[in-house]
């Protein structure tokens, strides 16, 4: 009786747990604008003030939000826009235009998109008519007609701002900033970028005033927490430090070391031979023949412990390594050169090799010894 009860209790508990897991996953995966803004409150306040001034007073502004990837730039602006739109007098008055440098790859597309989002009069349905030049003059005229007090402020949000700076002549940026600096329709231009060197770009006026800097990626933190969260089970209902450690290890795992673990002994031997060649020739490139010779030397010495493979078999193993991208042909080697003599480079570091060997299952002792020193036979 009691056991059954506890069983049902367990079931309920499991349900609760999975629900908690689901909620937490959602929080980690989606950039919800509800999340708290830690560390960027000051910037947030600044941004919201600025947006409010554009929306309420009709003052033109421009902001560049700079920060490394995953530092919460998009979240910051989304949060700000959400709060702005909750203000009643603002929500009906503000037009928003969202552009992304990865989507609007040139000014022509960007202009059409702006016209579409502003729903100007040359939009029929979803299509924007007219040539590039017509669109530009139309849009400019539209924006020029407005003035500070009477027309609707427009908030331009340019994601991946740096890509817009690569457009020809920077026509779009010039005009946006020109509008923001003259008595036309009030606009707020908000750029989001992870590049710091933008303000050095030619021609874009020095209106990019404000730099926000948020350190360390939130996204990687979320991934880490997700991994830890997945380990929560009814029998293990709370996240512990050990879970986090493990998740961290998963996150920071060396992907190449994992590949090395799955290699055959012959391939390991080839890698060790390459490592020795690297040591001897100081990072100079090598070819298959050199590696094969090195391998032969080792086999002749330790004939009893390592099977002497035929050359085509060794060649096959060598090509497999190349497919795994553990070795890589040098650039500018002619294609018609014999494969044995094509120059190669190893894409593994010595420390990586040694670490991988230590964890390699059932590694022959001789091979391990050979790896530590090319002179171990002496």
């Amino acid at each position: 009786m009691s056991s059954r009860k506890s069983k049902s209790n367990n079931l309920i508990q499991a349900e609760y747990l999975s629900q908690v897991q689901r909620i937490l996953r959602e929080r980690f995966c989606h950039q919800s604008p509800h999340s708290n803004l830690f560390g960027v409150q000051a910037q947030y306040k600044h941004l919201i003030e600025l947006l409010k001034r554009t929306a309420i007073h009709g003052e033109s502004n421009s902001v560049l939000i700079v920060g490394p990837r995953g530092s919460g730039k998009t979240m910051l602006i989304n949060h700000a826009l959400k709060e702005l739109m909750e203000v009643e007098e603002v929500s009906e008055n503000v037009l928003q235009v969202h552009l992304n440098g990865l989507l609007q790859i040139n000014d022509k597309i960007a202009l059409k998109e702006i016209t579409r989002q502003l729903n100007l009069e040359n939009v029929v349905g979803d299509k924007v008519f007219g040539s590039f030049a017509e669109n530009l003059s139309f849009l400019l005229e539209a924006l020029k007609k407005g003035d500070r007090t009477s027309s609707c402020p427009v908030i331009f949000i340019l994601d991946e701002f740096d890509l817009f700076a690569h457009h020809k002549n920077q026509t779009l940026l010039y005009n946006l900033f020109d509008i923001s600096q003259s008595a036309q329709t009030p606009v707020a231009v908000i750029g989001l970028t992870c590049r710091l060197s933008l303000s050095e770009d030619r021609n874009v006026r020095d209106v990019l005033q404000k730099h926000f800097n948020v350190s360390k990626s939130l996204r990687s933190l979320h991934t880490l927490l997700m991994l830890a969260l997945n380990r929560v089970t009814p029998s293990h209902p709370f996240m512990t430090a050990a879970d986090l450690m493990e998740a961290n290890q998963l996150c920071s795992m060396d992907s190449k070391a994992n590949i090395v673990h799955g290699l055959s002994v012959l391939e390991i031997c080839l890698i060790i031979a390459m490592k020795h060649l690297n040591d001897i020739y100081e990072e100079e490139p090598f070819n298959f023949q050199m590696v094969y010779n090195e391998f032969q030397k080792f086999v002749q010495r330790k004939a009893h412990s390592v099977y002497n493979f035929e050359k085509p078999v060794v060649m096959k193993a060598f090509e497999h390594l190349q497919q795994l991208e553990l070795i890589r042909p040098m650039e500018r080697t002619s294609v018609n050169a014999q494969r044995e003599y094509q120059l190669m480079k190893l894409l593994l570091d010595n420390t990586q090799i040694m670490n991988a060997l230590q964890k390699y299952p059932n590694c022959p002792t001789d091979v391990r010894q050979w790896a530590t020193s090319s002179l171990s036979w002496l």
Partner: protein, 863 residues
């Protein structure tokens, strides 16, 4: 607005009151009509002679007009109830470029008598919204300010598309009388109508003369006349000839005579043949010189009309066939054909025509003649016969336009949308501002003709089609709530410091201002042209100064101190392509639109021929360096035009670099640019200070020291006034932010400004490094160590990784795996702190620092 019944929601029924005054076949005149609005009791009585509001483009500002006639026309396809009106025009409907001609600010309720005969006054009666009161005032009278209702408008001046003139005395008297007298007395009404129509009549005759003279001078053949259709007839009346019962009857009869089995056929033919005009016509002639050619084309048309007639109509207009393309014979044959309807109404009888598809082009090509003629009437020698012919041509054109059936609408809509053709583009865009394109009213003769030719959706129709983009008015939605005014000193200061705020005067640029002013003024006075090149780094007030000069000159020209001139501005950055500059100039100069190539030709012709424009043109080209092309033809043309004596063109060019002419221009281009150069030096700190002080006049928001500080800081760096203003604006924000009481924020102090300057000029790299993670910092250290070891400024990732591992070991950090380190490296690369190769190179990718090593060291040491 109050006086606008919600037309969209309520249904309105229009009905005639009383018996028709005057009844003809398919045509009855009435004197009164009633409008019943659903759900509202008092019906509105509309009587001839009253002032009415007419539905138009803009719901807020319906058109104002005076009812001249109410009639029912059975031939109108959409609405049989028609009205003839005399238009009034609002100030906002006057083209922007001409608005300054008024010379004063218009009063809110001021309208102008629209003295423009080429305007279509025949409207659908069902677009009338309601009554309005119009009061005529003498030119010196002041418009009463105590307006109780918005329904009263005041008219002082008349506008004829060229200038504002005081109302003619008789008209004034009549209007004055009208507003007092009972509108029911029909007799006086009619008299008035006549007198009001008379001025327009005379001008219209000018038009005819003009066309006629063109024809006669070019020694062309005549175009035959063809049977009139009822709709063409209706248009006729508005053009030039006084309406009488007689004419109408004779028209009617002539129509009846010509109403033959062939007609139906012809109609069908029309709907077929008009569609080919969709084809883009790349070389439609558009200006006067092109127009001179057109009579020949008309002759060609005639020929093929005749051909067609052979096939199509075995009836009365058969005679056309015999027409030889020679002036004399045409005339005689014509006279013979239409003997029954001789006299005043000869011209009214126009045989219908059939165009073959390939001739549509020609027909369109003829329209510029009309444009020209209607817009610039000029008296010339007049010959009766050719006048007659010309009238017929006009009627044909109109007839052709009208005979379009509405099932073509769908076919035609895309025309305006996709066409790039010159002629169509031009036509669609010619009427600059007072474009009456409501559902049923088309005011301009020009536009009405065109719209009927090109976009039939403009012809009377109750349900408006989705508008073609070309006719779209560029406008951003206006805000629902008014913008707040600044509440405290800091906000006020911020408003004044905004770059967009135009200062009343430009301090510190007096010398430059005077130089430019003298240059332009002298050219204006001498009626010559010239070029000037203005250079200076950004934010030194180049454009602002030129604008100021132009503003002053415009004031001076209004005071008649200098001759009037036309001002055009183009900006290299606002063009998608250098050659688009021609399009923009042409459009701003004439309102026409054309392709770049064609616009260049038209402009060249305009500037090379004498007398094409009486006024001097002042052209400002901003960001000149963007107009550079491989051939440099754009720059060449810009500087070449002013060298022609007839051009009367003053070109002011602005660019940033002082040596632009030497650096990028070919000799032949820079030679034409001439030697008039001006260079704007960066502002010194005292000048910047003066600018700030003048902007903040009477506004105590900044400490004096603070202003001096920012002026010096900026002057030391760039002398960019924009940046100076931006910093000050930011400082007010910081100040507001730091004092928590928003009502009484203190002065902006040096501390606030220093903070702003710091923000603006601080290196973003150093902040970025300081804020980066431990692993990133250690990776940067490893890079520095590797550089020092190898003595090179570049290292492979593998080398750096080795260093990195060693460093981590020393500092007691956990061992960094290769993947982690790679992620760190690409992260730094995406911030452009490092310059890295694409990561497929893996271990071998080369890494460089994008910041100086000292900066990195400095940033890392801080901790």
């Amino acid at each position: 607005m109050a006086y606008r019944p919600t037309r969209l929601r309520t249904r309105q029924t229009y009905s005639w009151i009383g018996k028709p005054l005057d009844r003809k076949l398919h045509y009855q005149t009435y004197k009164e009509m009633s409008v019943k609005i659903e759900g509202r009791l008092p019906e509105i009585d509309l009587q001839v002679g009253q002032f009415v509001l007419i539905e138009g483009d803009d719901d807020e500002n319906p058109y104002v007009a005076k009812l001249v006639e109410l009639f029912e026309d059975d031939f109108e396809p959409y609405s049989k109830k028609r009205a003839r009106v005399q238009w009034f025009i609002r100030f906002c409907e006057v083209p922007v470029c001409k608005q300054h001609l008024l010379g004063r600010k218009p009063d809110a309720q001021e309208i102008f008598w629209y003295d423009y005969p080429a305007c279509n006054s025949n409207i659908n009666a069902e677009t009338i919204i309601g009554h309005v009161q119009v009061v005529a005032l003498a030119p010196d009278e002041v418009i009463p300010m105590d307006l109780k209702n918005e329904k009263t408008f005041f008219v002082k001046l008349s506008w004829n598309e060229k200038k504002f003139k005081p109302l003619p005395p008789e008209l004034f008297a009549q209007l004055d009388k009208l507003q007092e007298s009972n509108p029911r007395c029909q007799k006086s009404m009619e008299a008035k109508t006549k007198s009001t129509e008379s001025p327009s009549w005379t001008t219209a005759e000018h038009v005819v003369k003009r066309i006629e003279s063109r024809h006669s001078t070019s020694k062309s053949r005549q175009t035959p006349s063809h049977p009139v259709t009822p709709r063409a007839r209706k248009r006729l009346e508005l053009s030039s000839f006084p309406r009488t019962h007689n004419t109408r009857i004779s028209q009617q009869t002539s129509w009846a005579l010509l109403e033959s089995p062939g007609r139906m056929k012809r109609k069908v033919a029309f709907s077929e043949i008009t569609s080919p005009s969709k084809r883009p016509q790349p070389d439609g002639p558009q200006n006067s010189s092109a127009a001179l050619k057109t009579p020949e084309k008309a002759g060609e048309i005639q020929q093929c009309w005749a051909e067609d007639d052979k096939k199509a109509s075995p009836d009365g207009c058969m005679i056309l066939r015999t027409r030889v393309p020679a002036l004399k014979t045409t005339e005689t044959s014509e006279e013979r054909t239409f003997t029954p309807v001789r006299g005043g109404q000869k011209s009214l009888v126009v045989p219908s025509v059939i165009l073959k598809p390939e001739n549509i082009k020609k027909r369109e090509a003829k329209e510029p003649v009309q444009d020209e003629a209607t817009s610039t009437p000029r008296p010339r020698i007049r010959r009766k016969s050719s006048l007659l012919t010309l009238n017929r041509i006009r009627q044909q054109l109109r007839f052709l336009g009208n005979s379009k059936s509405d099932q073509e609408d769908e076919e035609f809509l895309p025309v305006a949308e996709i066409s790039d053709s010159d002629s169509e583009e031009e036509e669609a865009s010619t009427p600059p501002l007072p474009r009456r394109t409501p559902s049923s009213v088309s005011r301009n003769l020009r536009s009405s003709m065109k719209s009927s030719l090109q976009t039939p959706s403009k012809t009377p129709k109750k349900t408006p089609e989705p508008r073609t983009p070309r006719h779209a008015t560029p406008r951003i939605r206006s805000r629902n709530l008014a913008a707040q005014e600044p509440a405290n000193v800091l906000e006020e200061a911020r408003l004044r410091l905004h770059v967009s705020a135009v200062p009343a005067s430009l301090p510190c640029r007096e010398q430059e201002f005077q130089d430019i002013y003298n240059f332009v003024e002298s050219k204006l006075l001498d009626h010559t042209g010239g070029c000037m090149y203005i250079s200076g780094v950004p934010g030194t007030g180049k454009t602002a100064t030129v604008h100021e000069v132009i503003r002053c000159l415009q004031q001076a020209s209004q005071a008649n101190d200098v001759p009037p001139f036309q001002y055009i501005e183009v900006n290299g950055m606002k063009l998608t392509e250098p050659h688009q500059v021609y399009v923009q100039i042409l459009q701003k100069l004439t309102g026409h639109r054309a392709t770049a190539h064609h616009a260049a030709e038209l402009l060249a012709k305009r500037f090379h021929t004498r007398g094409s424009s009486q006024e001097t043109t002042v052209l400002l080209v901003d960001e000149l360096d963007l107009l550079w092309t491989q051939k440099q033809d754009v720059m060449y043309n810009l500087f070449d035009w002013p060298t022609h004596k007839e051009a009367r063109l003053v070109v002011l060019t602005i660019a940033n670099t002082m040596d632009l002419p030497e650096r990028i221009m070919m000799n032949r281009v820079s030679s034409r640019l001439g030697l008039t150069r001006m260079s704007f030096q960066p502002y010194t700190h005292s000048q910047l200070q003066q600018i700030l002080v003048s902007r903040l006049k009477h506004l105590k928001a900044f400490e004096d020291d603070a202003i001096q500080l920012v002026a010096r800081k900026v002057a030391a760096l760039s002398g960019d006034a924009r940046r100076c203003l931006d910093i000050c604006r930011r400082a007010t924000e910081i100040c507001e932010f730091s004092c928590q009481k928003p009502d009484s924020p203190g002065l902006v102090t040096t501390a606030h400004l220093l903070e702003a300057v710091e923000e603006m000029f601080s290196s973003s790299y150093i902040t970025a490094i300081k804020n980066s993670s431990v692993l990133e910092q250690s990776f940067l250290r490893a890079i520095l160590a590797e550089f020092r070891r190898s003595g090179l400024e570049e290292a492979t990732f593998q080398q750096v990784y080795t260093q990195h591992v060693a460093l981590c070991r020393m500092e007691g950090l956990p061992y960094p795996t290769m993947s982690e380190t790679m992620a760190v490296c690409s992260h730094l690369g995406s911030c452009r702190l490092l310059l890295v190769e694409p990561s497929r190179n893996d271990l071998l990718l080369r890494v460089r620092l994008n910041v100086s090593q000292d900066d990195v060291l400095y940033a890392l040491k801080e901790e």
